[in-house]
């Protein structure tokens, strides 16, 4: 691709992003503002994740890109092509082979390793945004670890509905200090974040924030002792590979209510079918 630096961004911009990443890794779960650039993909479609990936990607990396857990969804394809054109790095659909994984809204089923980086695309980095739209206010709350707003929201859920009713983007406490949004992954994926061996990086391009969880960090989903965190998943097995312990997509097969459930992680499903 003529006229563009490796992975599209110029080296100074990458440095700026890496400085933000270093701060983020040093303060797990804390949101670091960064000078997000206009990218050739629209805000809201992964520009933050793309900038983070561009800043950490090297020529010898192997990149996997997934959206909703699948490699072949249109946006994953588009982003993978983008890095194919601008960086020429090796790409893969196999989680185990990747050194950098960019993801929208899922964590792969396969356990990640110390030598891997997972980059999450984040639409809304502020975990308190639904309760308090003012960023000035939420900044103060994080600084003072004043999370009363979130506590009462959980209390109200149990009081009104009998259970905590958050299904995705379930708020977590990182390293026992910062309240963080894990991005809109299903609550089912939250436990994978706890003490993950891989480095977890989060990029929000439109909101211009970066945050991170260093390897082996404690990540706890908010709950009550007597209403413990309970991730939601379909109870059916995968209609293609039979897995019962992976997160499932519901696929409508006809207009009379017919449906089947399949693994959302397409690589995981394929590996299982190949092994069978």
């Amino acid at each position: 691709m003529q006229g563009y630096n490796f992975a599209y961004l110029d080296e100074q911009t990458k440095r700026m992003i890496r400085r933000a990443l270093l701060k983020a890794v040093a303060i797990p779960g804390h949101q670091v503002p960064f000078g997000s650039r206009e990218m050739p993909l629209p805000y809201g479609w992964g520009t933050g994740g793309i900038q983070v990936t561009a800043a950490v990607l090297g020529r010898n990396d192997t990149l996997k890109v997934i959206d909703q857990g699948a490699d072949d969804t249109t946006n994953a394809v588009s982003i993978r092509h983008f890095f194919g054109r601008t960086a020429g790095v090796r790409t893969t659909t196999h989680t185990a082979e990747a050194t950098v994984i960019q993801t929208r809204h899922r964590i792969p089923e396969e356990k990640l390793r110390e030598d891997q980086i997972i980059v999450y695309q984040v639409p809304q980095p502020e975990p308190l945004w639904k309760l308090e739209p003012s960023r000035v206010e939420t900044k103060r709350m994080h600084a003072l670890a004043d999370y009363g707003l979130m506590h009462v929201k959980l209390y109200e859920d149990v009081a009104r509905l009998g259970q905590i009713s958050i299904s995705y983007d379930y708020p977590v406490m990182v390293n026992n200090r910062y309240l963080m949004s894990p991005s809109p992954i299903p609550a089912y994926d939250n436990p994978k974040m706890n003490r993950m061996p891989a480095l977890q990086l989060f990029g929000a391009g439109r909101e211009k924030r970066i945050y991170a969880i260093p390897p082996w960090t404690e990540v706890r989903s908010l709950d009550f002792d007597d209403h413990p965190f309970r991730p939601i998943n379909a109870t059916q097995a995968c209609g293609l590979c039979g897995a019962t312990d992976s997160y499932k997509d519901e696929v409508i097969t006809d207009d009379r209510g017919g449906r089947m459930f399949v693994c959302s992680d397409t690589d995981h499903c394929e590996q299982r079918r190949d092994a069978a």
Partner: protein, 258 residues
């Protein structure tokens, strides 16, 4: 109970533009006692309360708080997170308008439980039980626990605010006209409630009011303010039965004539 005051202020001075709000004010407060600060509007009593509670910085003077270990802290020199931490746990503030201190779109139970959760309480059943207990103590019907405060009367809102404030057993509570704007009968009930809660919990209270009757009912000691100065101070009954300063005499006599 220590011999040292839990809160003491020396030489507090503050002006708003050309208007002097506080002129060299000294005051002391001990655990277990209620000090009532009285005066008309414009006397500086609310400004004093805001300076004492760390919400407003004086131009000169110092406010000293003694923590449970007896160590003194300059309220206006302490780091903001520490002050905020105090304001959420060891201290309480009861506003004249309860809506300022309540989350109006959160249930009564959630409002009372919030400070407990901020301190790390994580058992829903326990939190709810404590909230129920406190609602009972402030004489709010237990079956209102899941109701939103917008369905409460003014008196109920004030009692809910008190429950929310006292649930973490603060040592020091600031009250700004807690019965202002309420019906006379509602006031009386509320004052009784405050008096018994404070006596039972051994809290120290700074209470600001323009109403001499409230001061007489609740205050162990009284400080009379006029135009930014404390003109007279002492045991409530002594000051009100035998006022020395002409302004205090004026205040007391106007009540008797009413």
């Amino acid at each position: 109970m220590s011999d040292d005051p839990i809160l003491s202020a020396r030489g507090l001075t503050l002006s708003f533009g050309a208007i002097p709000a506080l002129l060299n004010v000294d005051i002391e407060l001990y655990l277990g006692e209620i000090v009532a600060i009285v005066g008309e509007s414009g006397s500086g009593k609310t400004t004093l309360l805001n300076v004492l509670s760390g919400h407003l910085a004086p131009r000169s003077g110092i406010v000293t708080y003694r923590d449970p270990d007896g160590a003194p802290h300059d309220v206006h020199a302490m780091p903001s997170p520490m002050l905020r931490g105090l304001q959420r746990s060891d201290w309480g503030f009861v506003h004249q308008d309860p809506r300022r201190n309540l989350r109006m779109n959160v249930s009564a139970g959630g409002n009372v439980g919030e400070r407990l959760m901020a301190q790390g309480a994580r058992h829903y059943g326990d939190i709810r039980a404590q909230a129920l207990d406190w609602l009972e103590q402030v004489e709010i019907d237990a079956d209102r626990i899941d109701d939103l405060p917008r369905t409460f009367s003014g008196g109920m809102l004030q009692r809910l605010q008190i429950a929310r404030t006292l649930v973490t057993h603060p040592r020091l509570v600031f009250m700004d006209e807690p019965t202002g704007g309420l019906d006379v009968s509602v006031q009386a009930r509320l004052l009784d409630l405050i008096r018994s809660l404070v006596a039972r919990l051994g809290v120290a209270v700074v209470l600001v009011t323009h109403d001499i009757a409230v001061a007489r009912l609740l205050g162990h000691r009284i400080a009379v303010m006029q135009r930014g100065r404390v003109v007279e101070t002492g045991l409530t009954d002594q000051v009100l039965d035998d006022p020395r300063h002409p302004y205090t005499q004026l205040l007391v006599s106007s009540v008797l004539q009413a």
